[in-house]
């Protein structure tokens, strides 16, 4: 059995970057403050020292260049792994993300686009309406982008390594609220986590809960509390939204007959809506109750950290919804 050690989520990402840059000279990075400073969240610490200022490049504040330049650099035979300081800035570089990365190969009928865009995502405590969003659903709606949403240090490392080795563009949503989370991470640098394979984070028979990112931990905590009441949750973490492992979700629902979807992103037209729809198409008669969602509010996020937490699902919210759904 492969050996493991306990690492932080941020450290696991740093390790994935370093290992992939050692493995393949074509891999390089750029972003704001990622070199000398090691990133505003410290994710790229030590990498410029090891790989030099040419392969770990500090840019100006120019998101259209960071993403569009990465697209061009991929056409030029390299593998760029770029960081946008906050995931929200995919909207600042929207043309480059959703048109250049996603469509260049399609429009021209040739080329590969091996680009990873690292996106510090989600609520972290007072960062405000333009620095806190969960925008992963956008990547599902516009064809041509893969979307990863790791919830654990091991998945952060293994999925990032898969992303860097993928010939397609990947939006890699790292949850800022998980950067300090710790967990076991395999030592083997060849151990990658494939895209499109969900993780059943907790086995259970009473209800399926689909959750991603920060919400996986909250769903697991809710499951612990509910088990005292005899409500047995199965927690499924899709890990990637594109491709989406709907088979594992459907199989779980066929076992539990109930589905609750939890996401930090706003409720309306979030990825929960898509999963609910796909499940009712494939497993309608397996369902004993409607599919419910616990999700972020349909509002911008207030900057105040206390108000902000009220806008995303809490453990209490999940417990309450699961209890009510179990009674339907």
């Amino acid at each position: 059995m492969a050996s493991e050690r306990v690492l932080g989520y941020a450290r696991a990402i740093n390790e994935a970057l370093a290992e992939e840059m050692r493995r393949d000279e074509r891999v390089w990075m750029m972003g704001q403050d990622i070199g000398k400073m090691g990133g505003v969240f410290g994710l790229t610490k030590g990498l410029q020292e090891e790989f030099g200022a040419s392969r770990v490049r500090d840019t100006a504040i120019n998101e259209t260049f960071i993403v569009g330049g990465a697209a061009g650099a991929a056409l030029g035979g390299t593998i760029p792994v770029v960081e946008l300081q906050f995931a929200d800035f995919v909207l600042t570089a929207a043309d480059e993300v959703f048109h250049k990365l996603a469509k260049w190969r399609y429009m021209h009928g040739q080329f590969e686009m091996p680009v990873v865009v690292r996106l510090p995502s989600g609520v972290v405590g007072g960062a405000g309406a333009e620095h806190s969003q969960s925008l992963e659903t956008l990547g599902m709606h516009i064809a041509g982008l893969k979307v990863a949403v790791p919830a654990t240090p091991a998945d952060a490392k293994g999925l990032l390594k898969s992303a860097i080795r993928d010939p397609n563009p990947v939006l890699f949503f790292e949850h800022k609220g998980l950067y300090r989370a710790k967990g076991p991470v395999p030592e083997d640098p060849e151990l990658v986590v494939p895209f499109g394979v969900a993780n059943v984070a907790r086995q259970g028979r009473g209800m399926t809960v689909v959750a991603t990112g920060l919400m996986v931990g909250r769903a697991l905590e809710a499951a612990d509390r509910l088990s005292e009441d005899g409500i047995d949750l199965e927690v499924v973490d899709p890990r990637t939204l594109v491709p989406l492992d709907i088979d594992t979700i459907v199989a779980s629902v066929e076992k539990t007959h109930r589905l609750l979807i939890v996401h930090e992103a706003p409720r309306t037209a979030g990825f929960g809506a898509e999963i609910a729809q796909q499940v009712q198409e494939r497993a309608f008669f397996a369902l004993d109750a409607p599919v419910w969602r616990v999700a972020g509010t349909d509002t911008p996020l207030p900057q105040d950290p206390e108000l902000e937490q009220m806008c995303i699902p809490s453990v209490d919210d999940i417990v309450e919804a699961a209890r009510a759904l179990a009674a339907v």
């Binding site: 120019n62 260049f65 569009g68 030029g76």
Partner: protein, 312 residues
């Protein structure tokens, strides 16, 4: 430029001209699945600049005409196939308009449909060349209109800071659809913006293919030797509307009957002896006609192409 190169440059310019005329004939006679943005009159910029490139240098073209790709050596039947939505086009039949074609083997990397995409893409490709040390230069064409995009600023700034091997070639034809250049620029030249980025800004007569070639050659030399980008502004004129069929109600000084001022074809042709020129003209006309017929005869794409090349 030696006389053999000059003759080849003339061949390219006149070939592009015949391609322009053949496409217009088709658009007028049979209609067209997309918008054809004619580049007639601007052949001198496109052919002159590309003639200064190495075959493995990278090219991002602008939307006006096919001259860049013809000059870079792409097969015309393939290019016309893209234009006509044929399966034999470089995009496999997803074309049907002038915007997208590419040939990785010749460094023709394509174009973004949202104008100004090429700035950041081109700077990125030049970054790859700098990282790999492959000695290639990226040439990015754009119009005076696209120069208004914010992507210009982001790319030009970073390219100069990093001394990237990229050359910016502006075809200033005086018009961005209905907007006259002088109505949307506070200074009379695009090249006036170069000093802000610490790079040379060069103005050249776009109707003079040799002058464009020489300016581009010098800029490519600088780029290849690590001295960073150059902004070249080639002054030219939009002869037709924004697209073929545009009646240009916004324009008082329309060009009548293809009266191309300082026509690059004639200007360069004067330097080629009559017999050679007549022979080149005949060959070019024939080659264009044959390539267009070949494209017309090719099948349209199978609908299955819709689902192809989404993923690598």
């Amino acid at each position: 430029m030696n006389s053999a190169d000059l003759i080849e440059l003339y061949r390219t310019v006149v070939t592009i001209r015949f391609a322009e005329l053949r496409i217009r004939e088709h658009v007028e006679a049979e209609g067209f699945g997309g918008f054809w943005h004619p580049g007639i009159g601007q052949e001198g910029v496109q052919a002159g600049a590309v003639a200064a490139m190495r075959s493995d240098d990278y090219l991002y073209y602008a939307h006006r005409g096919l001259g860049y790709a013809i000059a870079k050596g792409m097969d015309m039947a393939v290019l016309f196939g893209d234009l006509l939505g044929r399966s034999t086009g470089s995009t496999g039949g997803k074309g049907g308009g002038t915007v997208h074609f590419a040939d990785q083997s010749r460094g023709v990397l394509g174009q973004g449909g949202t104008l100004g995409s090429n700035f950041v893409m081109g700077a990125g490709t030049a970054t790859a060349s700098q990282l790999l040390g492959d000695g290639r230069v990226t040439v990015v064409f754009f119009g005076d209109g696209a120069a208004g995009r914010g992507t210009w600023h982001e790319a030009a700034l970073q390219a100069s800071v990093w001394k990237l091997p990229v050359v910016w070639v502006c075809e200033n034809n005086g018009w961005a659809l209905s907007a006259r250049f002088t109505d949307q620029s506070p200074t009379p030249n695009i090249a006036d913006r170069a000093p802000a980025y610490g790079m040379p800004g060069v103005i050249v007569d776009g109707q003079d293919p040799i002058a464009v070639h020489d300016a581009t050659s010098e800029a490519i030399g600088r780029a290849r030797s690590g001295e960073g980008p150059t902004l070249i502004e080639a002054k030219t004129l939009r002869i037709r509307g924004h697209y073929e069929g545009d009646r240009q109600p916004y324009r008082e000084d329309k060009v009548a009957d293809d009266e191309i001022p300082n026509d690059p074809v004639h200007r360069l042709g004067e330097q080629v002896d009559d017999d050679t020129r007549r022979q080149i003209d005949a060959e070019a006309r024939e080659k264009v006609a044959a390539a267009f017929d070949e494209a017309l005869a090719a099948p349209r794409a199978d609908p299955s192409v819709i689902f192809e090349a989404v993923w690598a």
